[in-house]
């Protein structure tokens, strides 16, 4: 492909023609395949340079020792006992908070959509959701320590009412505590990514269904769920990945006592204690990609099953 075709293709990207009819001849088939995918070119080029290339560098690093020679030692080490445990904990925490965040976020999004379309509430919620979905790290950890820590305001308020949650076994600096904090940025993210799908649900559909004598339950089962399930699953997947890679909040709150993969990667590639182990960190990074690829596969399978079951 010459440079001119590349620029031309990029220029007319949205206008790229539909795939030409396939004719015999592999060169032609290739050409028509390329022509049919011209619309993807800008995206692929961009992600290739700014995402693909850095990731390839990371992948290469995972297979190198500190002198740059090839080794599989990092990968072997990445499968060691302690990392296996953290992969399990990371997956568990991500799945739990993704599910909770998705359900609660969908409920919140739905409640907000009930208000006036251009009303203040919607604007406040969508703005707040944008900010809070990106909130994390030390400030978020501190906000929760000041709320649900052993002398946090909610802890103290409940204690004065006779509920000593810490005596009851609750502890903010544990897996459970982390999950509560993670939901704080998962719900807003869900609100943002799921609202467009909810908005696509027409009020007319419900009215039409009602006019045809459908009950609320029937409307829900036969119309709302089939339309909303695919975007709901997709959003949950996004939330999973979001929690899976979150790092700073967990670090500030539990300092590695709850073993999570991103924290261990952070110690290896950006630490003050362990020197010369960066490539092991990169190998763990690759491991994370593999996990999410697996989750993606499960998700694709579920989507397929869902569409079959619903049709």
């Amino acid at each position: 492909m010459t440079a001119e075709t590349v620029t031309a293709a990029a220029g007319v990207a949205p206008a790229a023609p539909a795939a030409a009819p396939v004719r015999p001849g592999s060169a032609r088939r290739l050409l028509s395949w390329v022509a049919g995918h011209l619309g993807l070119l800008p995206f692929l080029l961009y992600t290739g340079v700014f995402l693909g290339a850095p990731v390839v560098m990371v992948a290469i690093g995972a297979f190198q020792d500190n002198d740059g020679a090839f080794t599989t030692e990092n990968l072997t080490a990445a499968f060691a006992d302690q990392f296996g445990r953290s992969f399990a904990t990371s997956i568990e925490l991500s799945a739990l908070t993704a599910a909770a965040g998705a359900i609660l976020g969908a409920i919140l999004a739905n409640a907000v959509l009930g208000s006036k379309p251009d009303g203040l509430l919607r604007k406040v919620v969508s703005s707040a959701a944008g900010v809070l979905a990106n909130f994390g790290g030390v400030p978020l950890a501190f906000a929760f320590i000041a709320t649900l820590g052993s002398i946090g305001i909610v802890t103290k308020a409940l204690a004065s009412l006779g509920f000593d949650i810490y005596a009851g076994g609750f502890n903010l600096f544990t897996f459970t505590g982390l999950a509560i904090v993670y939901v704080y940025f998962q719900i807003p993210l869900m609100v943002i990514v799921f609202t467009p799908a909810l908005e696509g649900m027409r009020e007319q559909w419900r009215e039409a269904a009602a006019n045809l004598g459908a009950t609320r339950a029937q409307y829900f089962r036969l119309i709302a769920v089939p339309v909303l399930l695919p975007p709901f699953l997709a959003s949950t997947l996004l939330l999973f990945a979001n929690a899976f890679s979150a790092y700073a909040t967990a670090y500030a709150l539990t300092t590695g006592v709850v073993p999570l993969v991103p924290i261990q990667i952070g110690s290896l590639v950006s630490g003050n204690v362990v020197a010369d182990q960066q490539n092991l960190g990169k190998a763990l990074g690759l491991g994370m990609v593999v996990v999410v690829a697996l989750v993606m596969a499960i998700y694709a399978y579920l989507q397929k099953r869902a569409s079959r079951w619903l049709s």
């Binding site: 944008g130 719900i187 890679s245 952070g266």
Partner: protein, 256 residues
């Protein structure tokens, strides 16, 4: 949700969950000596000379990120929906990658790849714009995809085309207005991400607003909490103003 009482109960419960931790932080930032409260910590922030320059940097990085993201992603996702629905999963997979590679690892790769790039790219916040588009990709894709899935895109496009509209016209006057909330959602997330991103900016040694908040927070405990609240407030106000402007524009178009 028709039931108003239920709706407000739900909203109140969520409101409590989100506002109480904020409130606890605000209270802490207002603490002064001897159990009194004052705006001393907040006042100290305003004396910092680097507040406005770093905020300025972050704002133009944010503007660049939003513009580049929309330019790249709105046509791409529309095209995939129209022409290659089967590729949705592939694009989605690629879009999720940035979320999976921890930023601290990604930035290592970025440093290596762009080590010898022209200084305009790797010596200025331009590199941040280019990489923030990537970091925002998962959110951008998901939001736009949901927006496009919710409208009957092929019908709309076919109708517009049969009326003689060119492709750019279709994109700008038919597709974009129909997925307005998705486009704004994507822009919102981009903006909020840029105003909160610390890892890449600090490792690439760029003086952005989030980096400034962390270094300024070192001076005192109250200041550190106040300055992180300030950054949330700034992001929130920006988004809120943006949504007001967006709402007004739509209203005026409706009248004309």
């Amino acid at each position: 949700m028709k039931n108003k009482a239920l709706r407000w109960t739900v909203l109140t419960l969520f409101g409590l969950y989100f506002l109480v931790p904020m409130g606890a932080s605000v209270e802490f930032s207002l603490r002064d000596v001897n159990n009194t409260h004052s705006f001393a910590s907040w006042g100290k922030i305003l004396d910092e000379p680097d507040l406005l320059p770093t905020l300025g940097t972050s704002l133009w990085v944010a503007a660049g990120t939003v513009a580049l993201t929309l330019l790249l992603m709105v046509p791409t996702v529309s095209w995939v929906h129209l022409r290659k629905p089967k590729l949705r999963r592939l694009i989605e997979g690629v879009s999720l990658l940035p979320l999976v590679i921890p930023p601290i690892v990604l930035v290592n790769g970025v440093l290596v790849v762009f080590r010898d790039a022209p200084e305009v790219i790797n010596g200025t916040p331009v590199i941040l714009v280019l990489e923030y588009v990537i970091l925002a990709l998962p959110f951008t894709y998901r939001t736009l995809d949901a927006g496009l899935a919710a409208i009957s895109l092929p019908t709309l496009v076919e109708a517009a085309r049969s009326l003689g509209a060119s492709w750019p016209t279709v994109l700008l006057r038919v597709i974009v207005p129909n997925i307005r909330s998705a486009v704004f959602g994507a822009a919102f997330l981009n903006l909020a991400l840029v105003l909160g991103e610390y890892t890449l900016a600090s490792i690439l040694l760029m003086d952005t607003f989030p980096v400034w908040t962390v270094s300024t927070g070192q001076s005192e405990a109250g200041v550190s909490v106040a300055v992180s609240l300030l950054s949330l407030l700034v992001a929130f106000l920006l988004l809120f103003v943006l949504s007001l402007v967006a709402g007004r524009r739509k209203a005026s178009r409706g009248v004309s």
